[in-house]
Every structure is written in C-alpha cells, then in structure tokens.
C-alpha cells in the first residue's frame, strides 16, 4: 500500500556494505484500516436529526359553575371514520328542518389535495389573503417581525375565520387526526379543537359507511 517496505531486494550489489539509509516512511495501513473502521461505525450508528413535532394545546376545562361558552360561529364539524374518510357539516347540528335551517346532512371528503385541501382553502380564503398581504409587507420590511407574528395571530383568531371541530369515531386512526390538523395548519386555520363525537353524529356516519 503506502510504500511497502522494500528490504533486501536492491541492496546487495555493490560489494561494500554501506550504512543503509533507513526509510522514514511508516506503514500506515493498519492505522488507515482502523480509521475507516471507526468511521464506518460512527456513520452507521449516529443519529442526526432530533425528532420534529407539532405543538397542540388542548382547551382548559372550565371550572364548575362558569357560564357556558359562547356559541361557535362559522363552525365546521369534521367527522373522521374508517378507510380514511371524512364527513363534514357546517354550522350547528339539526335533527330535522326548523326555523334556523335545514336538517344536517353529511358531505364526504378524503385526504387528497383536490378534496380536503381545496375545501379548507376555500373556507379560509379571507384569512389566507390577509396573511399573504402581511407576508408581502414583511418582505418589503414595512412591518417588524414581531408585529407580523401578532397580526397573523389576530387574523387567525378573527370571527370571520372558520372554527373546526374534529371528531372521530372508534375506527379512525391517529394518522387521520394528525393529517387533518396538518392540513388546517397548511391552510392557516388557527381555530380547531378535538372533541368527543355525539351519538347522533355517530349514527349519521354509520349510516353513510354502512356500520
């Protein structure tokens, strides 16, 4: 390899024995072997990336005796069920037609770009446009970073922006829930919560999926 020691071979010709010049080179092969062995070991065993996460805050339970929370405006209820299906309805649940509106019916969505993403983008158009305007302002340095953050938060919390209630039956998976929350984050929807499904809603879903 790196200058293999050449003893003997060329020395013996010229009669007189001279003090042979010792080569200063060292055989580096074992060292290199070891170096690469260690290298391979560390490359294979080291873990680089720390896990990424998304933060989620659950609502604090109100103390007993506190007034009931105000009615949700622009509410959309998403019901997650088996086979990666989503059903949704807008507004409050109504068992039958009454003065305020028609009987609640479910509409089906799935996790594709054309379905859930498109629907949510449409619903949150106002906030998305407002935030896009702010992003332009931030880029041209008209507003400070902190102001931008605060204003984005205010827009997300605005009454016009939709509130999403995520409910699952006992067949939906964790991935479904994360996918919906992720899609909400992508579409800049700031108001969402996971809540327990109502019996009437569960019945409607079962009717749609056939049990």
């Amino acid at each position: 390899m790196a200058e293999i020691a050449e003893g003997g071979g060329g020395g013996g010709h010229k009669g007189k024995k001279r003090a042979k010049k010792q080569s200063t080179r060292i055989d580096m092969t074992p060292m290199v072997d070891l170096a690469f062995l260690l290298l391979t070991f560390f490359v294979l065993t080291s873990t680089f990336s720390k896990p990424k996460s998304m933060e989620l805050t659950y609502p604090v339970e109100p103390p007993p005796g506190s007034p009931p929370p105000p009615a949700i405006k622009n509410g959309i209820t998403m019901l997650l069920t088996k086979d990666d299906k989503i059903f949704y309805y807008e507004g409050e649940y109504r068992a039958a037609d009454d003065a305020n509106g028609k009987k609640t019916t479910l509409t089906e969505l799935n996790f594709s770009q054309e379905s859930l993403h498109k629907y949510l983008a449409e619903k949150n158009k106002w906030a998305q446009e407002e935030i896009a305007k702010l992003d332009v302002k931030l880029k041209s340095k008209q507003i400070a970073d902190t102001t931008h953050k605060r204003m984005v938060r205010e827009i997300k919390a605005n009454k016009i922006a939709p509130t999403i209630l995520i409910k699952t039956d006992d067949k939906a998976t964790y991935k479904n829930v994360i996918d919906v929350i992720d899609e909400l984050n992508i579409n800049l929807i700031g108001k969402y919560v996971t809540v327990d499904i109502l019996k009437s809603e569960l019945d409607m879903v079962n009717e749609k999926t056939g049990g």
Partner: protein
Amino acid sequence: MSKKPSKGGAPSLDMTPMVDLAFLLVTFFMLTASFRMAEPVTVDPPSSIGQITLPDNHIMVSVDEKGRGFFGISNAAAKMAALREMSKKYNVNFTEEQVKKFSGLPSFGVDIKDLPRYIDASENERTGFQPQKGVPLDSLNNQLRDWISFGGAEAVKIYNEAKTKAQEANQELKAEKPRYAIKCDGKTKYIVVKDIVEVFTDLKIYQFNLITSLEANPNEAN
C-alpha cells in the same frame, strides 16, 4: 522536471490526504454522535409540516400500533426520583443498583410489579420481555398517570433548582423547561390516544408536542 524512472516494484501512493480526511470525518462523527438506545417497540409517527424540534428535556409517552403505552423521561435524575416515588406508592422495592440501571434505560412499557425483573434482564431479553402490555392506564390502576405526575414534578423541580442556581451565580440558564411529548404510531386508533390525552388533561397539563416526521410545507415551496 524530475521524472521518476518507471521501475518495476511496488507502486507507491501517497495516502496522507486520504488519511487526513478519514480522521477528520472520524473526529466529526465521534463528536456529533448521539446514541439512541434501542426502543422497546418501533413507533412510526405520521408526517406533518411541524417544524418544532423536540426539546432535550422531555417526558414522553409513546404509543405503539397495538395501543400499548410506553413511558420515558429524558432527564436521568428525574427518572431516578420518579422511580423512588413510584416504589413508595406501589410498595415495590428496588435496590440502589436497579435504580441506577433504570436511569439509563429508554422508555419502558411494563407494570411496576414486573419492573425489577425488567431492569435486571439483559438487553436481548428485554425485547422479548413478557408481559410487556404497556404501562397500565385504566381508571382502577392508572400507573401512567402517576409516572407522568411524579416524573413531571421531579423534572420541574430539577429545572427550578438549576434556574435559582443560575440566578444566584448570575450565569446564563442552560437548562430547558421540561415538555410533555406524545409519540404515537400512525395506525393506532385515535380513541387510544384520546385516553392518553385525558391522562394528561386530568393532571392539568394541556400543552403537548406531538411527534411527527417532517414533511415539506406546500406553502413555502412556491
């Protein structure tokens, strides 16, 4: 122009740059490597655009596909203290050696009664340990709740101690506040996760980091 006459014999190659590079890389990997202990189960979390890195100081509940809960604390001191508290509450005795060994273990998913046996088992035996049903969390025997409660209290205590120490010495605080994390397999039924979340909200913990694998944000791409 010095040209070596091409003689027969061993061809020589100057390996110095290569060796330099090899050692540079070895040094780099040695210094950056952080070893991950083998987890008792593989959990494959779903992907999201979440960009927040999980803080080093965390208390984590992992849930596998079958819905078994596994508990782990990153801070070794808090882990040992939590084990002592649990040992008192459930009347399971641990030797000093077991407590020490426990602090080095990754997350575990066994009943506290089986824990001494689990700690004493070798690494290979642990993977096939029976019964590994997850930390019990039903309402009658909610050990997960106690683990989270003791572990959380100890981790916060250690953080506060570090904080006052740093303030007294007028130094920069290096410790992080402990965070609660849930790592869950994508295929787990959501109702199982809901039970775990309820354990947390029951303890008045409302903010978590849900661990997900990274996925590109379509908004930032264009």
